[in-house]
């Protein structure tokens, strides 16, 4: 069948000039901030490192949201609750695992068997697994019992997930018998210690671990979405789920697993957050959720790489802003959102569906 090739009527959706302009502006801003802090060079590096770690935590939170909200268009306010559950489950089980075996009346405690007196390294590994499973199970339950019936109905999703936030936040306190709002590690989780690249700069190994985790998650999910058949089904299903079904795929199963994956990533975010700030609270998820939503919107809905860039942008700039303009520390994220949306209403990488 011969058809004359028409010149492409749709110009590429991304305008490279705008992106260049934006990166130049951000670069200039960073240089300005550098000059300002240059008198104390190590301060600049410290800020950069802190920013990277913050970006990684933010990205872990936003990556799950990018899959669930950006890609599948499910408005999931319960994402923050899963973040909290993951973090608290991690800390709680880590604390139990490192406790010496229970004796006497303590052994009547239903979770006494978890007191194994482990070293921090195996305790961290086990607790990490438990935290991720908690997130996955929560995600699976929420999708299977509720969200499954509400695809494409955002108002109902908002109502439902806002209600779920209340249920999950309150049940969290019961399940882990939280007495106070904050929750702390009883021992220091692995990795501990620092490394000194320079006499004036000190980097925690845990910061390195968090950044590496963020990079691994990015590479893994990017590979899954762009280089595998599963990714093809998901990207196709997001665009036209009926047609994917008509090609013989059970789209529901794929969406279910994407939701579970997103929730596991939320739990990982909670775990990274609690390790990074050496503790957490029953509100930590809700506090980070707003920033994560902003990161996803800045990056562009549906763009996974966009979420990573958004997290880097917010994470790296915010320590500098907090240093120079303490008053703007909290509102900075929103200002950045407004600026980005003024220039590119679809977000930095929006219009590209993965």
């Amino acid at each position: 069948m011969k058809v004359a090739q028409r010149t492409n009527p749709y110009a590429p959706l991304r305008d490279p000039r705008l992106l260049t302009l934006l990166s130049v502006v951000v670069g200039l801003l960073l240089i300005l901030l550098y000059i300002n802090t240059a008198i104390k060079f190590p301060v600049f590096v410290k800020f950069l490192i802190n920013g990277l770690v913050e970006s990684a935590v933010l990205f872990l939170m936003a990556s799950g949201l990018s899959l669930i909200f950006g890609l599948m268009d499910v408005v999931n306010f319960a994402h923050g609750a899963v973040f909290t559950w993951g973090g608290i489950a991690f800390m709680w089980s880590f604390n139990l695992f490192t406790m010496p075996a229970a004796t006497g009346k303590d052994s009547s405690n239903p979770v006494a068997w978890m007191q194994l007196g482990l070293d921090p390294l195996p305790a961290t590994a086990l607790a990490l697994l438990l935290g991720l499973i908690t997130g996955g199970l929560l995600g699976a339950g929420v999708e299977f019992l509720a969200i499954r019936r509400l695809y494409g109905r955002p108002v109902f999703q908002i109502l439902l997930t806002l209600g779920l936030v209340l249920v999950l936040d309150e049940s969290l306190k019961i399940v882990f018998s939280l007495k106070a709002q904050s929750y702390d590690f009883l021992a220091t989780p692995w990795p501990t210690g620092n490394f000194k690249p320079n006499s004036e700069i000190l980097v925690n190994w845990k910061s390195v671990a968090i950044v590496v985790a963020g990079l691994l998650v990015f590479a893994g999910v990017y590979w899954l979405l762009n280089r595998t058949k599963v990714g093809l089904v998901i990207r196709g299903g997001v665009e036209d789920s009926q047609m994917v079904q008509a090609l013989g795929y059970n789209v529901k199963v794929y969406f279910f697993w994407v939701f579970v994956l997103g929730s596991v990533l939320a739990a990982l975010g909670g775990i990274a957050y609690s390790i990074n700030s050496a503790g957490g609270s029953d509100q930590m998820g809700q506090l980070s959720l707003l920033t994560a939503f902003v990161v996803v919107v800045i990056g562009g809905l549906g763009s996974f790489s966009g979420a990573a860039v958004g997290a880097l942008l917010v994470g790296i700039i915010s320590p500098f802003v907090a240093y120079h303009f303490p008053g703007l520390a909290d509102s900075f994220v929103m200002i950045l959102l407004v600026l980005v949306l003024l220039v590119r209403p679809q977000g930095l990488f929006g219009g590209k569906k993965y």
Binding site: M1, K2, V3, Q5, R6, N8, P9, Y10, K229, L232, V233, R235, G236, E239, D240, Q242, M243, V244, Q245, A246, L247, G248, Y249, N250, V251, K352, K353, Y354
Partner: protein, 255 residues
């Protein structure tokens, strides 16, 4: 324009009614509260091309969607290759070996042409995928030029090539094609006709089409429906001869 004789190959599997690939018996389909199909019956012969004709709103697209389970029928039965399709979900029906080329082509705009085809090749071994891809590229040599282009940026005719090829990427025995001429330039429509005539040798086709030239050239049999009811059916030659029928139901005059 002459309808070809039935090109049923000698290799018809044995079994009851093995000549009939797809049978619809008084299918009734509702879309919300609207009674769209009010008892449609059809028999699609293996190895032939059957054209489903009718005015706008007659229920042609809904018939195809009912077969695919996208608008599941409330009453009546559909059986494919001897097994019932009624009650099966869309993906199960597709796995039985039915390819679907929807109205407006239903291509994935954000995926490249190649990714569209890869996605359609569900569970195919790499060797089978290459073999099927070669067949499609032979059918549509132009497709080589836009394999790596986003399908959303293609012209209507190019998208139609991708959409039809998608139906050929698995071991489908039946291809449901909904209005392939819609929105295409006349010269492109002619190319689609040539392709479908060639394709008939390989696969059974159920075609919904308003374009009478395409319907009469491609089709061996026709079914005429109106208002969700069967009107008449038979070999294509019979319809071409019946000027009154074509004028009344299709609004075309055959010279």
């Amino acid at each position: 324009m002459k309808p070809s004789n039935l090109p049923i190959s000698a290799a018809i599997p044995s079994g009851p009614n093995s000549e009939d690939l797809l049978v619809l018996e008084s299918v009734q389909t509702y879309i919300s509260q609207f009674h769209i199909l009010q008892g449609i019956s059809m028999t699609i012969k293996r190895g032939a091309a059957t054209v489903l004709l009718g005015r706008n709103g007659a229920g042609k697209t809904t018939t195809l969607k009912s077969i695919m389970g996208l608008t599941p029928p409330r009453q009546g039965t559909i059986s494919y290759d001897g097994q019932p399709l009624t009650g099966k979900t869309t993906f199960e029906i597709a796995r039985c070996g039915i390819g679907y080329v929807p109205e407006d082509r239903g291509i994935f705009r954000d995926l490249t042409s190649e990714e569209n085809l890869l996605l359609a090749a569900r569970g195919e071994k790499p060797a089978d995928y290459r073999r099927r891809l070669e067949f499609c590229l032979e059918l549509f040599p132009d497709m080589k030029r836009f394999m790596r282009q986003k399908a959303g940026t293609l012209s209507g005719g190019q998208q139609q090539m991708v959409a039809i090829s998608r139906g050929l990427m698995t071991d489908n025995k039946l291809l449901l094609i909904d209005e392939p001429s819609k929105g295409l330039a006349p010269i492109v429509v002619k190319a689609v006709i040539d392709t479908l005539v060639r394709l008939k040798e390989h696969i059974t086709i159920l075609l919904v089409e308003q374009n009478f030239t395409m319907a009469s050239t491609v089709g061996d049999y026709f079914y005429l429906i109106d208002d969700g009811h069967n009107i008449t059916d038979g070999p294509m030659a019979q319809l071409i001869g019946d000027k009154e029928l074509t004028r009344q139901y299709l609004g075309v005059t055959v010279k």
